[in-house]
Symmetry: C2
């Protein structure tokens, strides 16, 4: 595999796939060469719309395409595990949409496959590569707000109820926690590490998916996280990190904020962290660099992190009856 | 007992007792006749400062004072149960500072005593009688924001650590949940009723009291509450009630807000709910009217409600290890 110009394929043709086309086109050294879909017509139409040279009428066909080095898996959550493993076993590297899997067991299988195949695998938590999250990392590293005592974050909106929509469909691993909760959960893990207690309540609607959830996490040293997500309840979609010396606020939307606000003894500072171009692009160099360096994972979004995040979401979902 | 002019005694001489003097002086039909303290000098000094005719050098002495009809118990939490029972058994009515007791068992004993003695007993959750909470009740009753799906509320600040201060002293029932958490907890009970699940995490500091806590509650129909309190972590001290058709926000401080904000399809409305005079006064007519009508409890702050709130706080504290 040459990584001077990495050749990308996109698995699936939904709206996030279309956004990722822009992300790749805005990234130096990324070449978009193929797209695939279960439905050949959709693959062809997507390829035509976006000017992609090759299209495949099945996921397997793209796995067999020797011109593809790395695949962006943008299928429904319920397919992430099998699709990622398909490409890893075909020798491709994989950037897989979040959540990496529907549970920790699947996540562990995916990671084991990446290891066995010596191929790069990363969960597409693009937030962590955005200017706001880079700045957040810098503020935390320098201890700007002291010892962190609490992380609060939520992501929720009142979607129109449609039992056939992915969000409400258990067969497609719908529900608030996996689709939206992953952002608050990953923030808690990023700032406070793996929790030693996860306690949650929530509500499953008529289709069986969790329509809202609220979780409290206990971390080493007594810090706590308070996380919420919903698909039928409007939330502020903000985050707040409180330390012994101050507070950092992430405005809506907390997964891609355009600025941070720091409150401490010296007052309030607003730090601009604008997203330039397609926000999904910021994670692409991380993937390309990892592959170029012969690594199988990103340090900023590691396999252990993805598995731990999946474990926290498992613990939340088990408690929502 | 004549209630044309109800004769009040105040048990304890702390800062809340001094505020309550003003509350009584601002209430028609309330006559402040006595104060007591374990320390005779303190009782005398408080009586002199506030122009109160009689002072007693023990709680028992005021219990024996035939001129006192109703006692405001403003002692540390750890004494509420025994002090309230002392006065109830002496035939006095009691308004007891929040939290009513240190646990549900004590609360139940106090209520049983009020029943046995046929005397009025109310927990001094003054919030519920303020203009903001009356307006909130009106908005909820008219269904302004639809079906309620979530109540979020917190109350916390970073107090200077002092192991001898009441807040940090387990012997005085210190800690975040009982002292501050009672306000978010009572709001959840007010809006969504008694929860059927209470899940919490938190941290006990070096003195053993809970320095911070975060709790999630599940209510009938799948609504949830997210409640937080802290004595060493700064919080927003706000509340937010989200329904299927909108949101009501209580600004800081959520236990005595000067206005409410309603967001719904028609836009944002700010409803002014100013507190006039000493905020503690709003609960006094509730006590006086209850006594005048020969009742033993308030409908707005009932015995069942106080016991249920104590039970929720028990459940929270049991989970903070």
């Amino acid at each position: 595999v040459t990584t001077a110009s990495l050749r990308w394929g996109i698995a699936a043709t939904g709206s996030i796939a279309a956004q990722f086309v822009d992300a790749l086109r805005q990234t130096e050294g990324a070449e978009l060469v193929a797209v695939c879909s279960r439905t050949p017509e959709r693959a062809e139409s997507f390829a035509r719309t976006h000017g992609i040279a090759r299209h495949h009428g099945s996921y397997e066909a793209m796995a067999a395409d020797p011109e593809v080095d790395v695949v962006y898996v943008a299928t429904p959550h319920s397919r992430h595990c099998e699709d990622a493993i398909l490409y890893l076993e075909a020798g491709k590297h994989v950037l897989c949409e979040k959540p990496l899997a529907t549970d920790q067991r699947e996540a562990a299988r995916m990671v084991a496959t990446a290891r066995a195949q010596d191929r790069f695998l990363m969960e597409a938590i693009w937030s962590r590569f955005l200017p706001a999250y880079r700045e957040l990392g810098r503020l935390l590293a320098e201890g700007r707000i002291g010892e962190i005592r609490m992380v609060e974050a939520d992501f929720g909106f009142a979607a129109p109820f449609d039992p056939h929509h992915r969000l409400f469909d258990p067969a497609q691993a719908g529900g608030a926690t996996l689709d939206l909760g992953v952002y608050p959960v990953q923030l808690a893990h990023l700032v406070l590490g793996v929790p030693d207690e996860v306690r949650a309540v929530g509500h499953r609607g008529s289709t069986g998916v969790d329509e809202q959830m609220a979780a409290v996490l206990h971390h080493a040293g007594g810090a706590v996280s308070v996380l919420k997500a919903a698909v039928r309840t409007s939330m502020t979609c903000t985050a707040r990190i409180t330390g012994t010396n101050g507070t950092i606020e992430l405005p809506a939307f907390m997964h891609c904020p355009g600025w941070l606000t720091v409150h401490d003894a010296s007052g309030t500072e607003r730090i601009e962290t604008p997203i330039e171009g397609q926000g999904l692009r910021y994670q692409v160099p991380e993937v390309q660099q990892g592959i170029a360096e012969g690594r199988i994972e990103s340090a900023a979004m590691s396999h252990a992190d993805s598995c731990a995040i999946a474990g926290t979401m498992d613990a939340i979902l088990e408690q929502i009856t």
